[in-house]
Amino acid sequence: MGRRVVVIGAGAAGMEAAGQLAKAGCSVTLVEKEEETGGNVRNWYHLFPDHRDSKEVISYLDSRVAHKNLTLITGTTVEDMEQDHGQFILKTGDGMALEADAVVVSTGFDLFRSERKEEYGYGIYDNVISSADLEKMFRKGEVLRHDGEIPRRIGLVHCVGSRDEKVGNPYCSKLCCVTAVKQAMELKKKLNTARVFCFYMDMRMGGALYEELYRESQEKYGINYIRGKVSEVSENFDNRLVVKVEDTLAGRPLKMELDMLVLMAGMEMSESGARLARAAGLKTGENKFFAIADHHFGSNKSELNGIFYAGTCTMPMNITETISHARAAVADVLDYLNTLSG
């Protein structure tokens, strides 16, 4: 039996890393706090840039973790981690102690809780929903207002909880722009007559095929883009939402009524990740994600030998990047285990 590795968090990164490590002969324990694996991917409907059903990614990930060297423990969290002569002892919430030669942290991200952006009235106004809520509606197959009416005019607000020092997140979550474009297109597919508006600060279409998606959304779906961040939302007499925004390109404030407002929640360090960081004494960066050892050569390494990072616990990433990052973590782990044997 090979070296023992514990992977914390069975989302896209954890599952990919654990599966690869198991294949490489390690004895892998994959710990997941939820009862089900898959992490945040389970909450999505169709993925950008090609509108692939997220279930395909889940089944790919499931196939990765089906390996005899891999033990999956769900419904528990790692509460504490100690290091003793190069050996890690991880204590789980249900009292288990897991021993490991190396640890991969893949605790992922939490979506920004939109109610923290008070002025948007998430949780107060019935028809202000988050991007995750919209994905659920897509999965359910119907996008409706709270009163059961079909929305005719829908707004999507970019950068909710990202690039916003007031909520303590100065960084860009990278994916909300393309998510908004994708969701806007899905909305038009479902509700052909609806008018969809994206309120953006910058369109950050840096990924593969993102810009093409953006163009398609304008050309084929007629999505309207308004440059300006929504400043406040209120409810009208007839229960429609009134948003105020500056149309920075027209140089004038703009007011419009909407039937539904979708907040593109950004990505934040997960709560369980933050707890683990405190318990294990792992450093976090200014953006509150785990601090990687080096931005160019050590994006999978922590400052502690034997503890590695995979995926969005270090920074916002899309699924493609997460899986690549997880594979890179595996290379670093195997390299490290080799030095132990030597």
Partner: protein, 114 residues
């Protein structure tokens, strides 16, 4: 009425719901490339007329979309239709036709339209 020594000001905000978006719709229908404008301002920067007076095609585009037609009408007539904007547009918007279509659509809305 200036009984009190001041007048009531009109709100400066764009009232999107009340504004007339029919010109934008007309242009989109006849010149679909109008939709893909990303307001980069290339057209404005190269504009022959813009060299002499305040004509921003980028601004006109956005104002048409928002239905602020009075200002559009005021500026649109300044265009010399030279077509440089069309040549420099990175998104392939047929800006020249956008202007002629806008002029057409504005004809019925403003007495002094071109």
């Amino acid at each position: 009425m200036d009984k009190f020594g001041f007048t009531i000001l009109k709100a400066r905000h764009i009232n999107y719901d009340a504004n007339d978006k029919s010109v934008a719709e007309y242009i989109c229908e006849h010149e679909p490339t109008f939709r893909v404008c990303i307001e980069c301002g290339c057209c404005t920067a190269t504009c022959t007329t813009g060299n002499f007076t305040s004509l921003s095609l980028r601004e006109i585009n956005i104002l048409i979309k928002r239905g602020e037609l009075a200002r559009v009408n005021e500026n649109l007539k300044k265009c010399m239709l030279c077509g440089k904007c069309t040549l420099v547009c990175p998104r392939g918007v047929n800006t020249r036709n956008v202007i002629t279509l806008a002029r057409e659509a504005l004809k019925n809305k403003f007495k002094d339209a071109v």
